[in-house]
């Protein structure tokens, strides 16, 4: 894990204990959601490509705690936790992973393409870097319309090597846009370490030639993430100063559910998980400061277990998308000369050998 020099955050004593408990609840929810997602994958309830946020819970909850309802979020494909922490219930998220009609993207997107208009969740993007210029454009729209809020472009460390990232940095500063480049630095892009892929492995420095301020943050400390995001968010909104946040965390598993992770030393992974577990470390911190006790922790575990189980039950009970809707939502308005529901049904019947 990249070294974080000094962690800055407010003293625990000055925090509202209810907030702290809520952060813990959210982190535990994300943890359990992802563990059960992995289990559902093994049971073949979920297919395709599926990337988990295990180890990144504090990063996500800290960011969301700093954002306001005015803000917009673009993420990469490793985004289950982001949409849940932003306030979308786990049920429709799990249903999307199952490919069901009740999923947040109607079963069309799957794990990598979660969207929710109400919470300004602008989507998961599976073409690496695809989301970054879009976030800059959304920030311009805020500025142009004189609206409050900032736009977050979440991405992984590997993404900072693609051209679209640099084009976006340039524009963000050139136009003084309210945008935060939120880099989840989990040390690896698939099997490629930060050092192997980036000539400047201190990712927060990558804005230097664009005159964009950058900071490295301990992504396993929910309060450190929240405080940095709050501070830089305020600057972005009020002064039009974009910023880079290099948020360091530890990737608990392989790149995706099916990645055997053979390029990382098992001992490195084991000790990393031991040392950098944001959920367990936060529980211990709260416990040491008498903010929670054993009973409360147990009750939280039960509550989260139940909520995730309900999400799975909801997904299981949900219908598949209908073939008739194959051509729905291709265009924003009715369009002549495109196929409709009858064509879709006919095609499916032929495809199945029924016609």
């Amino acid at each position: 894990m990249a070294k974080v020099e000094d962690t800055q955050r407010s003293a625990l004593e000055r925090e509202n204990p209810d907030d702290l408990r809520h952060y813990y609840y959210q982190m535990l929810l994300l943890r359990r959601f992802e563990e059960r997602t992995s289990e559902m994958y093994v049971k073949a309830k979920i297919g395709g490509y599926c990337h988990l946020n295990l180890g990144e819970e504090a990063t996500i909850v800290g960011l969301m705690a700093a954002l306001t309802p005015d803000d917009y979020i673009f993420t990469n494909y490793r985004e289950h936790g982001y949409i849940i922490a932003r306030g979308v219930p786990p049920g429709p998220v799990m249903a999307e992973l199952f490919g069901k009609e009740t999923g947040v993207s109607g079963g069309r997107g799957g794990s990598m393409h979660l969207f929710d208009a109400k919470t300004h969740f602008m989507g998961g993007y599976a073409i690496v870097g695809g989301q970054v210029p879009l976030a800059v454009g959304a920030a311009y729209a805020l500025k142009y319309q004189g609206k409050p809020g900032v736009v977050v472009a979440q991405m992984g460390d590997g993404t900072t090597n693609i051209g679209a990232f640099y084009e976006s940095l340039n524009l963000a500063k050139l136009w003084n846009l309210p945008v935060l480049f939120f880099i989840v630095n989990n040390g690896y892009g698939m099997g490629t370490s930060v050092e192997m892929g980036s000539s400047e492995p201190d990712l927060w420095k990558k804005g230097a030639s664009f005159r964009i301020h950058g900071e490295r943050i301990d992504g396993t400390d929910v309060l450190a993430v929240r405080d940095a995001c709050r501070r830089l968010r305020a600057r972005a909104e009020q002064e039009g100063e974009p910023a880079i946040l290099d948020v360091v965390s530890f990737r608990f598993r392989g790149h995706s559910v099916i990645d055997a992770d053979r390029y990382r030393d098992p001992e490195f992974v084991r000790s990393g998980r031991e040392k950098h577990d944001p959920v367990r470390n936060f529980a211990a911190l709260l416990h040491d400061h008498d903010i929670v006790d054993d009973d409360w922790l147990k009750a939280m575990t039960d509550r989260v277990e139940k909520e995730v189980q309900e999400a799975i039950d909801f997904a299981n009970a949900s219908p598949d998308p209908r073939f008739e809707d194959m051509y729905v939502n291709m265009y924003a308005t009715p369009v002549p000369n495109i196929p409709g529901p009858e064509d879709a049904i006919r095609e499916v019947k032929i495809n199945r050998g029924e016609l």
Binding site: G48, R108, V128, G189, P321, P339, A344, N351, G353
Partner: protein, 327 residues
């Protein structure tokens, strides 16, 4: 002859060529230690070292662009695009640079490089891990586009592609990687870029396909044989330059034609083949030229039932064959 799968055939082609020619190197995301996401290059870094099996940063534009420059300078790069869907950032380098340098330098420079890209659906990859890109690139003169369907062809064509002095886009259908097995000789051989191959001779109608769909067509042809219809299945193998003579020759004999691909229909490669048949075999035609393709939706939907509906099935192909046979 040993039987191997298509993935193994591709690995063997790279391995055997690299052993013979030091100018060849592989450049792509996680092709080294990790051996590529599909494990095509597994083990090669141990044999050839990190100067020849090179892990790239996550940046398709420079993966392809750097290979173009290296190819102009006496090396023979093989660029790997991890999934064909991710080729878009490199579009400029392929279409504007690689494909046009020989022509615009009046022959001064050649670009002997291969771009390998796993394409196609049927693996539950959703919108961005399932795309078919052949029509887009087959549109570009100066580029060669190859799409093998069998281990034998894959190995022989890849060797030809590596030796070719021109840029070759080499499309590997990801569902065929482990699914399709076949016999491959142990001796060094080539399959030339250009000629199509009649994989199943027949008399009543001609079907043209490539990649995974070739196998679905063979399956459908088998079913039609049981019904007394003799179907000729032609594997196009090379999409640019296209073997027009074999296509026209086949249709002139059978008088009926069907083209099958999983790419969406509008502007798909089938349109090109149909137009050629209309131009050059009009007098022999006994039926309309039929095309089968995926539905015209923006990309492969994730939900399994929708994906199943998207991918043309052997049943759908058989139904079209029956329709043609009835004329």
């Amino acid at each position: 002859m040993p039987e191997i799968n298509l993935l193994e055939a591709i690995r063997q082609a790279i391995d055997e060529m690299m052993a013979q020619d030091e100018r060849i190197f592989v450049f792509g995301e996680d092709v080294g230690r990790r051996g590529g996401v599909f494990r095509v290059t597994e083990g090669l870094i141990d044999k050839y070292g990190p100067m020849r099996i090179i892990d790239s940063p996550l940046a398709e534009s420079v993966i392809v662009g750097a290979c173009v420059g290296a190819a102009m300078n006496d090396t023979r790069p093989i660029a790997e695009i991890q999934f064909a869907d991710f080729i878009a950032p490199a579009f400029n380098q392929i279409v504007q640079e690689a494909a046009r340098i020989h022509y615009r330098s009046n022959g001064d420079w050649t670009v002997p490089m291969v771009i390998r890209a796993p394409w196609g659906g049927g693996i539950h990859g959703a919108l961005y891990h399932s795309q078919s890109i052949e029509a887009t690139f087959a549109h570009v003169p100066g580029l060669k586009v190859v799409a093998p369907a069998t281990p034998y062809d894959a190995k022989g064509l890849l060797k030809s592609a590596i030796e070719d002095p021109n840029p070759v886009l080499f499309l590997e259908h990801k569902k065929t990687y482990r699914l399709i097995k076949g016999q491959v000789p142990e001796h060094d051989y080539r399959v030339p870029i250009g000629p199509a191959d009649i994989k199943r001779p027949g008399e009543d109608l001609s079907v043209f396909a490539y990649g995974l769909m070739l196998h679905y067509c063979l399956e459908a042809a088998q079913a039609l044989a049981a019904e007394g219809v003799s179907v000729e299945v032609v594997d196009l193998r090379t999409l640019r330059p296209l073997d027009v003579a074999t296509i026209i020759g086949s249709v002139r004999r059978t008088s009926k034609a069907l083209i099958v691909h999983e790419d969406n229909l509008t502007g798909g490669f089938g349109g090109e083949v149909a137009a050629l048949i209309a131009e050059h075999a009009f007098e022999q035609l006994d039926a309309p030229v039929l095309r089968i393709g995926g539905p015209d939706v923006p990309a492969m939907p994730f939900a399994k039932p929708l994906e199943d509906a998207f991918m043309p099935s052997p049943q759908k192909i058989a139904a079209a064959m029956r329709r043609l046979a009835a004329y």
